[in-house]
Amino acid sequence: MARLKVYALSTCPYCKQARAFLTDNGVDFDVVEVDKLTGAERDQAVAEVKALSGGTSFPVLTKDGAVVVGYDRGGIMKLAGLQ
């Protein structure tokens, strides 16, 4: 099973809250801080976020093809298998 991945902006409080929520619930995850990337890495991450969410609003969380856009605790719990 793939690890949960969080696309975030370093300036975004909801992104921090989403990450803290996962950490507090013992969920392992990877983080991509898109605004900290440059060049091709950034272009790639932006393309992934657009493909997943249809926009560039953060946070975007994904696992096994499922996607949650925003700090949506209910959606994140379902995505992470916490309920």
Binding site: L9, T11, C12, P13, Y14, C15, Q17, V34, D35, V46, V49, T56, S57, F58, P59, V69, G70, Y71, D72, R73, G74, G75
Partner: protein, 222 residues
């Protein structure tokens, strides 16, 4: 012409040097109040967001949303300059807050309860469009509500909302004038009853939207 890469243009700074979080609060608060919003009641959260915005201002020249990514195209990015309520009016009405949570609707008592709330505007959504005393009888305004252009009319003390596009030659009805309960098109004088969108011309009625007035605020369901 040289093929060498040009240096990135220096972004035009939209606020004076030395602007503070309190300065941003001072100019944003009365503006968002006109839209039916106020700062989140979670003060620590607001402080964090405004601090982020000041950092973005220093880097990018304007107070872009801390939770949305800039494309680098100033025209495109104008849609995510804070406050971005006016360009996301339907979505935010459904969420009862803006995307990043800096602003909440004035009818929300505790903004911290909305952290994590992402409700999509899938069905009809009630959007606050004016304070009850904002307009006079006979006045008409153009509103952009999501993808819809509507005319907000006050007549005989009541508010009415109808499609802003005349079905004759597609003129903006909000450029016309109000006589009694009729909104008169500016282009050829076609008349539309603001109460039901009807006109004497066949197959040309315009759509109307339900309006409610509560606690001194005018809401339309679209």
């Amino acid at each position: 012409m040289s093929d060498a890469a040009q240096p990135a243009p220096i972004p035009r700074r939209r606020f004076a040097e030395g602007v503070t979080a309190d300065d941003l609060r001072g100019y944003m608060a009365p503006y968002v109040a006109r839209l039916g919003y106020r700062f989140n009641t979670d003060e620590g959260f607001v402080a964090e967001l405004l601090d982020s915005e000041l950092g973005i201002l220093a880097e990018a020249g304007d107070v872009y949303c801390p939770c949305r990514l800039r494309s680098g195209d100033p025209k495109e990015d104008a849609a995510i300059v804070c406050p971005c309520i006016a360009v996301n009016v339907v979505e935010f009405a459904a969420m009862r807050k803006c995307w990043c949570g800096l602003f909440i609707r004035t009818d929300v008592e505790d903004g911290s309860t909305l952290h994590g709330v992402i409700e999509k505007a899938d069905g009809p959504t009630e959007v606050r469009v004016a304070a009850k005393d904002d307009m006079r009888d006979g006045e008409v305004r153009h509103l952009k509500l999501g993808k819809r252009d509507v005319a907000l009319v006050r007549a005989a003390g009541n508010y009415y909302v109808l499609s802003n596009v005349c079905r004759h030659a597609f003129a903006p009805l909000s450029d016309g004038f109000v006589e009694g309960f009729e909104l008169v098109c500016p282009l050829h004088g076609w008349r539309f009853d603001v109460r039901d969108g009807s006109t004497d011309h066949p197959d040309s009625d315009v759509r109307t939207y339900p309006v409610a007035v509560r606690d001194g605020e005018v809401f339309v369901t679209i």
